[in-house]
């Protein structure tokens, strides 16, 4: 359970940034 909490919390912290990188790349590519 503890590992699950830590993994979930870590994803909450890190994954938005990762998703953003791809989303921004897609938008920039489209703008270019």
């Amino acid at each position: 359970f503890d590992e699950l909490i830590v993994e979930t919390a870590t994803r909450r912290k890190q994954w938005p940034k990762k998703i953003l990188v791809h989303a921004i790349q897609a938008m920039k590519a489209e703008q270019e």
Partner: protein
């Protein structure tokens, strides 16, 4: 009682506060056991044979029981305080990485609407690009057509220039003049013919 997973704290610390406390508890407890084992070993060594090991063991268990009881009570108190005062994130606090959550709140509908708007803008943009390309293509065609038409006009100009060079000012007028004088000529001719008939 529902367990508070303290996930938000885990997001900040990288571990759950309970784990941290459990880690400290186990370590402290191990030390207590180890140190008492050392105490027992020293006693056996120093009182070499004067005392029965099982007797010392009984003393150790009695002391450990007492210590463990106090240790657990004190540790529970310490854990409560640390979880409340140190390893917790107050309810009114937002972690930096989540600031965006309060600056940009939107419902699913609003988000979809925004995505739809972006999609439409993309479509309009593409349509606009196509329009412009079609217009530019027509401009190219117009250039060619205009050049052709201007060439044709130029022919007319050159034609008139040629006429002018040969003494025929304004071609139309001169043709009209020519027509007039030739008509006069014809009348004179006719006149002459009639007179010559009379004279015969």
């Amino acid at each position: 009682m529902s367990v508070d997973p303290m996930a938000y704290e885990a997001q900040f610390f990288g571990f759950t506060p309970q784990t941290c406390m459990l880690r400290i508890y186990i370590a402290f407890q191990d030390y207590l056991f180890e140190v008492l084992q050392v105490v027992e070993g020293v006693m056996l060594k120093k009182l070499d044979g004067k005392i029965n090991p099982s007797q010392i063991r009984k003393c150790t268990e009695k002391f450990l029981l007492f210590m463990k009881e106090h240790f657990d009570k004190l540790f529970t108190k310490m854990e409560e305080m640390l979880l409340q005062l140190v390893l917790n994130i107050p309810k009114n606090v937002l972690l930096p990485e989540d600031r965006v959550q309060e600056q940009y709140r939107c419902s699913e509908e609003e988000f979809r609407a925004l995505q739809e708007e972006v999609r439409q803008l993309q479509e309009q943009y593409r349509a606009e690009v196509a329009t412009e390309q079609a217009l530019l293509a027509e401009l190219e065609e117009q250039k060619i057509v205009k050049a052709e038409l201007e060439k044709t006009l130029q022919c007319f100009d050159e034609l008139e220039n040629i006429c002018r060079q040969h003494g025929i000012g304004n071609f139309k007028e001169s043709l009209a003049l020519l027509t007039q004088s030739s008509k006069k000529l014809q009348e004179v001719l006719k006149d002459v013919e009639e007179k010559s008939k009379k004279m015969k």
